[in-house]
């Protein structure tokens, strides 16, 4: 059975919605355990969706794939706005909701990115060790390479840094986002050092 309405409360084990469909009672309470999935509808301003979801964290595991994707888009905007603490919090919250494997992997990567920007290097290393083993070398995203290159530079591991900075440009298709561009510049610096050598 489908219900549609505005969420008024999801703090207890029940979801309270104020109904907007005719022919149904105006206020409905549904046990969370009985809900298969929730689809978010309507246009929220960029952060509004996250603000709403933050009030009803219990609903996160119930989001359908489309709603989850919309939420991920909003979360990525936190990175675009360099809001690292909030990016970190949201990745933690969503990972805890046990999303599909590919989404978890993406969230872990953003979490590592937030940690890197907040200079929590030990945590970045721990996360990256796990992530590197989960991605095939020929498919690793440029963000992962970028994070690994930065980590290895920090640790003075010159050759490893060079590996990660060159990798996206050698994949098929070649990486072409901002991270891949940054890595091309970085690798040129490394290689020009090597040339001087």
């Amino acid at each position: 059975m489908n219900f549609q309405g505005r969420i008024t409360d999801a703090s207890s084990k029940n979801l309270q919605i104020s109904n907007t469909l005719s022919g149904q009672s105006p206020l409905i309470g549904i046990p969370l355990a009985e809900i298969r999935e929730i689809r978010l509808v309507g246009n929220s301003p960029s952060t509004g969706l996250l603000d709403e979801l933050a009030k009803h964290k219990a609903l996160l595991p119930l989001l359908d794939s489309e709603s989850l994707e919309r939420t991920l888009v909003r979360i990525q905007q936190l990175a675009d706005n360099e809001n690292w603490p909030e990016l970190y919090q949201w990745t933690v919250m969503l990972i805890a909701s046990n999303p599909p494997w590919e989404v978890t992997r993406r969230l872990q990567l953003w979490k590592a990115w937030a940690c890197m920007e907040m200079k929590l290097f030990d945590e970045v290393r721990r996360l990256m060790d796990g992530l590197v083993s989960e991605w095939d070398a020929m498919e690793v995203p440029a963000l992962l390479c970028w994070l690994m290159a930065k980590l290895e530079i920090r640790d003075g591991e010159r050759m490893k840094a060079l590996y990660w900075s060159l990798l996206p440009s050698l994949q098929i298709p070649a990486g072409n986002d901002a991270f891949a561009d940054d890595l091309v510049t970085l690798s040129r610096e490394w290689l020009s050092d090597e040339f001087q050598n």
Binding site: A137, M138, G156, R158, L166, L170, I172, D193, N197
Partner: protein, 881 residues
Amino acid sequence: MSKWLVLLLTGILSSSSSAVLPLRDQWRAACQTMARGNATAACHLFEEFDQWYGDEPEIREASFREKHLRLWGLACMQAGLQQKGQDCLERWLDAHQPEARYHAFVRFQLASSYAFSGKLDEAVSNWQAFIAEHPNLPETALVHWKLADFHASQSMWKAAEPHLLSALDHPQLPSSGKVLVKAALALLELSRENNAAALEWLGSMEAGSQIGELWQAILAPSLVSSLLATDQPADAHRISSWFSRPERLESILSQLLQTGPSRPGLRQLVWNTHWRQQAGMLEANIRKSIADSELEASQYRLKLASLRRSGLARHSLVLARALLSSQLPVAESLRSTAYCEAIESCHVFKDWIQADLLVNEFINAFPDHPDIAEILYLQASSSAGRSDFGKALLRIGQLIDSYPEHRLIKKWKLSQAGWSLESGNAGEALRLYDQLESICHEGWHPFINFQQGRCEEYRKDQTAAIRVYQMAADHPASTPALQEQALLAILKLHLRILDTRSFEETLTRYRLSFPEGLNRIMVEILAATLLQQTARPAEAIKCLLPLIDQPTPSALQAYSLLSDIYISQSDNISLVTAAKDQLTHYLDKEISIPERPLQDLILAQQRMAKHVLDVPMLGRLMGILNGTGPNCPDFVLLQLLVDHWESYSRMLNLTETRAEDWLGSQASSHLNANRMRPYASYNLFLADSMAEQGRHDSADARRIHVLQSVKPQGVGEHASSILALTAASYSFPESRSLLELFLRRFPVSNSRPEILLNLATLLRSGNADTVSRKQLEEIRDEWPDSTTFPEASILLAEWLADDGLPEAALATLDKLLDRGDLGARMTARAILLRAELFFSSGKAAKGIINCQRLLQLYPAFHDIADAARELLNEHDHAQTA
């Protein structure tokens, strides 16, 4: 175009005709039937109308005639009666000027009808007329395109190109259309095998354009293959970044087909039809690419090949490693290729250990691979590369035995002979070259003769060496380069035995045969050396002076010989003139200045007790110090200035008459201006001066400040070594990377042994036993004349002993003790260590002899003598017990 049609129909249906009713009814019926879409019936009605009323004056009137012919012609074309329709529209065009309403529409319809009915010449002439009559309509771009397609279909590329260029330049062609035209131009260029032009068109497509990305991906594999085949690897590498995967192509294509431009409005129908044609062609090509199951693997192969052949071995190694670690099916199919690439890349970087590991992995993984013999050859080359010729020869011997019929057997045997010579076994090498001479093609003989000459030279049989070098030079199959090499080798041998007559004969032959030879300067240097050695310095100088007017390494060698002669003659004036001339050559060409002329000027200043630089030269050299010229050995230049700073400060009108003040103020001002290289030079030079005065703390404080302020890649050789050694002496965390960076940047620096020693000590403290020993072994084997050699050898012997390798430790000590100029204390330490090794390996008698020798020769070194006595006592106790 259809929009015009609708407008027209509306106009006609609302017109008020004053003709008689039957005529009017017939006309109306024809027009209404056509408007309802029944073209065949309309056509019939128009024809009847023409038959019945065609001669009526009202119908012959121009404005009605225009409507009649146009609608009748269009109705015929819609009904499939192309011939009749074409006649009507031809008559219509005969009666109207290009400015007339509907003219462009009629011309376009007529051309399309001719094309549809296969009358291509008529179609082309009408399209050409359209372009001439209506150059500014949006449809003109389309007509150009159609004409280009027509010419391309006839393989008339030259005729097609200007039409595509006109379509591209047309101001009303949208950006998506421009991308498609560029793709068409690229295809056209590929068809006439002009890869460079095709590349330019594909490369000029707007970033982010889906159509552009698809065409680039479709055409890239064949382009890269073709570029590699024509030896253009750099372009091939660039284009390989357009490679894509089938799933991505599929996804972009489906987006494109869903959202493809569907322009609103009837007039846009022709555009939409054209777009569908273009999209269809693109789709067909993509489907073909996707159907190629080998596409992905072949793209990676091409990528690896273009990387390797562009000299991008580091990139190639990264890609090969990623492929080796990948679990994707495509990577599985590329395992052996990736191994080969990785091994060859390791060879480029002289990473022999890694190359060996990869070879072993490959052999274990693919014991029956068809390339196994070539991999085994790479394995042998790895050993040779790291100068382990014993292993290299063992491996190549096994390879030759296992694959005696292999197509590369002669190459292997040449390597075997070369490695035998490198390993010092010239006799065996000579035997192998003799064998090769009998089995190789005549064309190889000069090369083999030349190598035989090297073997004879090594065996110190100079007569035999000259004889075979002569054979190499005289052989009809010999190349000019090899002939030159052989004559040069002969000249060196004549010089060595001071056979003046033979030398001059060979010299004359060389000068006549190779007046512009590659080795000309080297040969003249040999001639000057002979003149110098036979006490004819004036002639030697005359010979050398023409050689030193260029800033090249061989000219510098000639200059060094010339300055040696001036120094030995105490001709300081000529020395200064020649040194300043040399500096001018390098300054004029903005090439890194060598050390030798600066050192000569320092010597001349000492001998003449006065400054030697004039104001213009001083100004240019100061510019270099301040970072506005080519690189130079900053420390030597500073020494030259500081030695006579009083004079130079006056010449420069500087208030700092004390060199130390000047160095300090220069360092500060460069630091404030963030010019880090000159800052490092001034400050480190000042630190060295302070250290010489015993002010070690101040010196180190300055060095540490430089270390913290500058990028280590940005400083010169001497500064780099000071920084690395300072970091090592204070155990700073970056010391390892600085030491390693120095070794990579300056592989032949005189500071190398000291850096190696420090790095070895550092690595040993981190338990990297094998690697740390390698550093010391390099000092032992490659730098026996360095001041670091004794210390490094003792340390190496100690480490070898600790690592359970007493024989190797003893061999190292023997090599050390063989050195004649070893200091007394160092000799005593070496003998003590040798004694310890003998005792610990059960050779007590030898241990006792060494202890006794030590006590006899070096009793004054109490600590060492006490340790020797302790050893003897321990031995006595052990015997008693």
